[in-house]
């Protein structure tokens, strides 16, 4: 049971020593990519003659972090849902030179087609599915519990109002949305300290999340030159430039590396708290 917190603390206390929270193969299920992109913006509103597609890759150099096992002994029902290796974290997934669970979105853009339909956030075998997802401002997030046990969904944004609701049984659905753009909104299950998700809220439909192969796709982008930003919970944020031509496919890649562990991770309103004469510092949110 290791939460995000120890990562922060260990960075502060052990000066860069990595907590054993990182990466690994997904123990089962799809860690994100497709579902994370949400329902694609409604094609009907888009004139195909004016838009192109961004197709990208998140590269990862250096040693991939070792897969992290989750101690699910307290929830035998969840643990039973995994193979012989047992439950593995799907948070940081870097393999074969690619990095998954990176949220990529265009900046300096707003508007575009309104969201249609809901984005799904499922709780399955005591993990969030997907781990990273993107939604549009005001878009409905349908949060469901596929486990027949208690989860609470505790979202702590700083631009938006948060929520913290319980779903003690399988089949319960709660609908939530965020009215303001915010990259990223952390979501945590306090019952299971290892369960963490991040929701990127943007006021346009031009975003994507990298899959296990490090690839992402942002379709239906109006022709033009954009700045794109990538966000990862352990390796931080970076930006790049991309030019989209009508009917074309622009490529965009971000190069992360293992050296970036412990990088600054922007997360909503910065909130650094220094306490007392011993200068205790706590950085809210993901590893910083």
């Amino acid at each position: 049971m290791r939460s995000e917190f120890l990562k922060k603390v260990s960075v502060l206390v052990a000066a860069g020593a990595m907590a054993a929270c990182g990466g690994g193969d997904s123990g089962g299920g799809d860690p994100g990519g497709d579902a994370g992109g949400g329902e694609a913006p409604a094609a009907a509103q888009v004139d195909p003659a004016t838009v192109g597609t961004i197709s990208g890759t998140i590269n990862f150099a250096g040693d991939s972090p070792a897969p992290t096992a989750i101690d699910m002994s307290a929830e035998a029902d969840c643990a039973a849902g995994y193979g012989p290796d047992g439950p593995m974290s799907n948070n940081v997934i870097a393999a074969n030179g690619r990095l998954a669970n990176v949220f990529v979105h265009l900046t300096g853009v707003s508007g575009g087609p309104a969201p249609s339909g809901s984005v799904q956030l499922d709780q399955e075998n005591c993990r969030y599915m997907p781990h990273v997802l993107g939604v549009q401002v005001g878009q409905n997030i349908e949060i469901t519990n596929s486990d027949d046990l208690l989860h609470n969904i505790n979202a702590s944004p700083t631009e938006n109002r948060g929520f913290n609701i319980s779903q003690p049984r399988a089949g319960i659905t709660s609908n939530q949305s965020f009215p303001l753009a915010e990259v990223m909104v952390p979501v945590r299950c306090d019952v299971h300290g290892w369960m963490q998700a991040y929701i990127g809220v943007v006021d346009h439909p031009y975003f994507g999340v990298s899959g296990p192969d490090g690839s992402f796709t942002i379709p239906n982008v109006p022709a033009g030159t954009y700045t794109a930003e990538a966000w990862h919970e352990a390796y931080g944020a970076m930006s790049g430039s991309v030019t989209v031509t009508a009917g074309g496919t622009a490529t965009l890649s971000f190069d992360y590396s293992s050296d970036m562990a412990g990088a600054h991770v922007p997360l909503g309103e910065p909130l650094v708290i220094r306490h007392g004469e011993h200068g205790i510092e706590v950085h809210r949110g993901a590893q910083d």
């Binding site: 290791r2 995000e4 307290a74 609470n152 109002r161 913290n164 003690p168 019952v191 299971h192 708290i273």
Partner: protein
């Protein structure tokens, strides 16, 4: 037209006056806030005042307007009445007091100022309280249904089966800023920050405590997992888990004289007939390193003797059975985020794991001799000149006797103290037994005389060791004496003498009157 102009002038005057009044109010609020609130909540309302790091839970961060005690839905802003309620009564179990020194108007000014730290209040419509329905009432059936709802909503995941805050998820709980936070001990309702009444508890269940891991159960209720009545019954059940008020402090433990044999262990049914005494513990905030937020806030003591031996049962709530690796993360968080007042926390290893695990421990402290007058050793562990006699227990080393020459120092003594301890559902039960007469070094307990006693407790999983403890003042144990004839004879003699004296007086007076 003239009257129109006049009206306009008056209206302008009123508007300007009102605006000035509002500004004045905020100024009043600011002055009051800076004076009474800023040292904990910070001048900018970030919850980072100079004393904040010694507090568990932490002072509120006003900029995010996440309030625990509300009548509104999860994630919503509190109403002004919610904020006023907290200013009136404080948050029990925390360092936040009520503010009877402020007038209602002053409290309203402070509330306006606190709200101005956050953009959320200005942005949205005024928050509306939820409809909480009405209480269908308590009673045995309601309590049984409430106990079922406690299981259905899996309250025990954090609060534990018996409600003592020892659920499997308790060690990993943190507030929204990442600070460690405890699952409430529901058996100590007097320390529930949202209040101890059935209404209070019902409201907290439905609204959740924003900023903490405590979720709102309203979606679960609306989707039919529990009915509205069952949520009320849950509130009745939780309110029934322990006394509403903190037990009254009685300074003397009455050690009864057993009619037949001493209890043989901590679970002996004979304890059921023996009166238990509650002693609250404060943090050891006297000698550095101080402990501003102790885990153990009180202990129960029962005693019985048979003229040659005595037995005690000591019980206290501690959500962790230290040392326990499940609580490693909790310990690391506490030591990383609390003001340790100079305590040198052992370094974590390269994976961020703790390298030292401390045991739970308790100490009963006595003088070496029953004092003649008022004088006794220093209550905090004695001194070199006047040491204290200690009964020690730790989850690693069991029971022992010792001599203390200052807080934290224990020189072991040989002795006949025996004992066993058991931890169950967030509560330690320690059974102690010793002959009344001491061996070579120690206190021989006299019957019928109050003997000073003081208590200390440590929760190893919260990094409590050495001087980082919960402590009590001096209290007393008193071994009940064998019933003596004097209790009957003395009043009888008094009655006879007075009666005889009265008769003689009357006779003499009557004789004189006749003469």
């Amino acid at each position: 037209m003239r009257s129109g102009t006049l009206l306009k002038t008056i209206a302008t005057f009123l508007l300007v006056g009102a605006a000035g009044l509002v500004a004045q109010e905020n100024e009043n609020g600011r002055v009051l806030y800076d004076r009474w609130c800023a040292e904990c909540h910070g001048a900018e309302g970030l919850g980072d005042g100079s004393a904040a790091a010694s507090m568990l839970p932490r002072p509120r961060t006003f900029s995010q307007a996440r309030y625990q005690v509300r009548t509104t839905g999860s994630g919503q802003l509190p109403t002004d009445d919610d904020l006023m309620h907290v200013l009136n009564v404080g948050l029990p179990g925390t360092t936040m007091p009520g503010w009877p020194n402020l007038s209602d108007q002053q409290k309203r000014d402070v509330i306006e100022y606190i709200k101005s730290f956050s953009r959320f209040f200005a942005a949205g419509p005024a928050p509306e309280p939820l409809d909480f329905g009405s209480d269908p009432g308590g009673g045995p059936e309601a309590l049984a249904a409430g106990a079922q709802a406690y299981l259905t909503l899996e309250c025990e995941a954090c609060h534990g089966a018996a409600g003592r805050g020892n659920g499997t998820s308790a060690p990993t709980l943190e507030d929204w800023r990442g600070f460690p936070i405890r699952a409430a001990d529901l058996t100590e309702a007097w320390a529930l920050n949202g209040g101890s009444s059935v209404n209070d508890i019902h409201t907290r269940v439905l609204t959740g405590l924003d900023g903490t891991p405590m979720p709102a159960a309203i979606d679960a209720m609306n989707s039919g997992v529990v009915s509205p009545d069952e949520v009320w019954q849950l509130a009745h059940y939780v309110a029934s888990m322990g006394p509403r008020e903190r037990p009254r402090l009685r300074e003397v433990v009455r050690v009864e004289r057993a009619s037949e044999g001493l209890p043989q262990d901590g679970s002996d049914e004979a304890w059921g007939d023996i009166e238990a005494f509650f002693f609250p513990l404060a943090g050891q905030v006297i000698e550095v390193p101080r402990n501003f937020a102790p885990t153990v806030d009180g202990i129960w003591v029962e005693g019985v003797h048979d003229g040659s031996e005595m037995a005690f049962r000591v019980q206290w709530n501690d959500p962790s059975r230290s040392p326990d690796s499940e609580w490693d993360e909790w310990q690391a968080k506490i030591l990383a985020t609390m003001d340790l007042d100079g305590f040198e926390a052992p370094a974590l290893d390269s994976t961020g794991a703790v390298t030292v695990r401390w045991p739970d421990a308790i100490r009963l402290q006595f003088p070496f001799e029953v004092p003649d007058g008022a004088e006794r050793p220093y209550f905090l562990g004695g001194t070199t000149r006047q040491p204290v006699y200690l009964w020690t227990w730790s989850s690693n080393d069991g029971v022992g006797e010792g001599r203390g020459r200052g807080y934290g120092s224990v020189e072991p003594l040989p002795g006949e103290l025996q004992g066993t301890a058991e931890w169950q559902d967030g509560r330690w039960t320690l059974y102690l037994r010793r002959p009344i007469a001491a061996g070579a070094d120690g206190l021989t307990f006299s019957e019928g005389v109050p003997i000073p006693v003081a208590f200390s407790a440590w929760d190893g999983s919260s990094g409590e060791t050495d001087k980082r403890a919960g402590v009590s003042s001096w209290y007393y144990v008193l071994l009940e004496q064998e019933p003596s004839n004097a209790v009957v004879v003395t009043p009888l003699i008094a009655i006879l003498l007075t009666g005889a004296f009265g008769l003689v007086l009357v006779r003499r007076a009557q004789g004189r009157a006749r003469a």
